[in-house]
């Protein structure tokens, strides 16, 4: 995992997001920011980090998707998650929890969060037609386009 300091710019921008509770009308929905890309997706209520990324057409390294293998661990850089199902100590140890390691297939955000994928892993788009990862859209389309680029930060809902 790379250190937080490498993403200072993005984190500064995120600082207000990650410490605030959800706004009115979007009860219990939380932003998940994936570093270093700065890409953002929204996790629905009770939705896991993996569930939110998958629903947005994003793919990264995962295993059993049921909390048994630990392949989908990510670094929780900012924010908090909770686990609604028991997790085996052999999969996610107390020490790892303290270090901010997060089992993404079981972790449900309870604040806005920022995560960083494992070293060597990368985010892939499997719904390229729905969420094109190309140049920024022409001026004037930004307001209505959910995939508008904003420097390195994007929003996918």
């Amino acid at each position: 995992m790379r250190g937080v300091q490498e993403h200072g710019t993005v984190l500064t921008r995120l600082a207000t997001l990650t410490t605030t509770r959800p706004e009115e009308g979007r009860d219990h929905m939380h932003e998940v920011t994936i570093l270093p890309d700065g890409l953002q997706v929204t996790a629905a209520e009770e939705e896991t980090v993996l569930g939110a990324l998958t629903r947005a057409g994003l793919k990264y390294r995962v295993g059993c998707k049921r909390g048994g293998c630990g392949i989908c661990k990510v670094q929780l850089v900012l924010g908090e998650v909770r686990y609604e199902r028991p997790i085996a100590e052999s999969v996610l140890s107390d020490d790892e929890r303290v270090e901010g390691i997060c089992l993404s297939c079981r972790a449900v955000p309870i604040t806005n969060i920022a995560i960083e994928l494992q070293e060597g892993d990368r985010l892939r788009r499997v719904l390229g037609f729905a969420y094109p990862n190309s140049a920024p859209p022409p001026p004037g389309r930004a307001a209505s386009n959910p995939t508008t680029r904003n420097d390195r930060k994007e929003r996918i809902t």
């Binding site: 390294r61 995962v62 295993g63 059993c64 998707k65 049921r66 909390g67 048994g68 293998c69 392949i71 199902r85 028991p86 997790i87 085996a88 100590e89 052999s90 999969v91």
Partner: protein
């Protein structure tokens, strides 16, 4: 004198009720005994009392039990395992529900293996007199029986030698580094005439890769895949075919992340004169997933 078959898998699960739903309603096993924190289950086409023990707390394998022909065999196997250098011990009748006296062995791969020769005979759902082809109240996938297990070992060649020398298993197929340098990367071993009763692949000691349910044919396998989609069971890969064993397959995960397989179509029978088939490691992907011919990274990384 022989080991007959895989008799039981004892597995840890993080949530017993979710596991009950998966193994009972989705895979179609019957719960034959329950106590706090533990379930015993069997498939409709199995003769003995149970073939799966689920224990709440953690994930992964507690132990595998293989059924032998007689008590005399147990003593012989125990002696050979001990001479090989493995830690062995005895367990008493009743220590495993309805199972007789047996031998407990710690494999060179640190897995616990139990040998037994008696378990209460409770019969299949179709019985022994003019049986129907299958029970009409079969649930879900309706797996016939637990067929085999694949375990991980840091030195699969050593485990292969252990099973050959101590327990009279034979490698039907194996994956080697190369024909010139036949270091074993994986081995598919039989104690009867099925392509494999136990397989071992290079990986972390004491870990389970999967255990498998026998299905009748490709149609049953496809239907199983449909049920997994209906019930949101995560599929690892399939339906497809293995090059090794020629069996057709779906890998999938239980609610705790333990990998299961449904396996159909015995590719061949392993008679006494069957020569070992060798695959070279550069063809491993084709050996495992015959159609895609590429491994997904989960195959060699996801163990419980």
């Amino acid at each position: 004198m022989s080991v007959m078959r895989l008799g039981y898998v004892h597995l840890r699960v993080t949530d017993l009720e979710e596991a009950r739903h998966h193994y009972s309603n989705i895979l179609g096993m019957s719960v034959v005994h329950e106590e706090p924190g533990k379930l015993h289950l069997k498939c409709w086409d199995e003769w003995d009392h149970h073939s799966l023990v689920l224990e709440e707390g953690g994930v992964g394998l507690v132990k595998l039990g293989y059924k032998c022909s007689s008590d005399d065999d147990l003593g012989q196997f125990e002696k050979r395992c001990s001479q090989f250098g493995a830690t062995t011990g005895r367990f008493s009748r009743g220590e495993n529900m309805t199972v007789g006296d047996g031998v407990r062995i710690t494999l060179p791969s640190e897995h616990t293996l139990e040998l037994f020769s008696e378990m209460e005979f409770t019969g299949t759902d179709t019985g022994t007199i003019n049986p129907e082809a299958w029970p009409r109240d079969m649930r879900g996938v309706g797996g016939h029986w637990i067929d085999h297990a694949l375990i991980a070992a840091e030195d699969p060649g050593l485990v292969e030698r252990f099973f050959m020398e101590c327990l009279d298993f034979r490698p039907a197929e194996r994956v080697v580094e190369s024909i010139e340098h036949p270091e074993v990367v994986g081995t598919w071993m039989t104690c009867g005439d099925s392509p494999h009763d136990l397989a071992v692949i290079k990986g972390p000691n004491a870990k389970l890769h999967h255990f498998a349910y026998h299905l009748e044919d490709w149609g049953a396998l496809l239907r199983a895949g449909d049920i997994f989609s209906m019930d949101d069971v995560p599929i690892d890969i399939g339906p497809t075919r293995h090059g090794i064993t020629r069996g057709t397959t779906i890998y999938f995960f239980d609610p705790s992340g333990n990998r299961n397989e449904v396996f159909a179509g015995l590719g061949y029978r392993v008679h006494k004169d069957f020569p070992t088939i060798n695959w070279t490691v550069d063809q491993l992907a084709k050996g495992i997933f015959y159609h895609a011919r590429e491994l997904n990274d989960r195959f060699t990384t996801v163990f419980t």
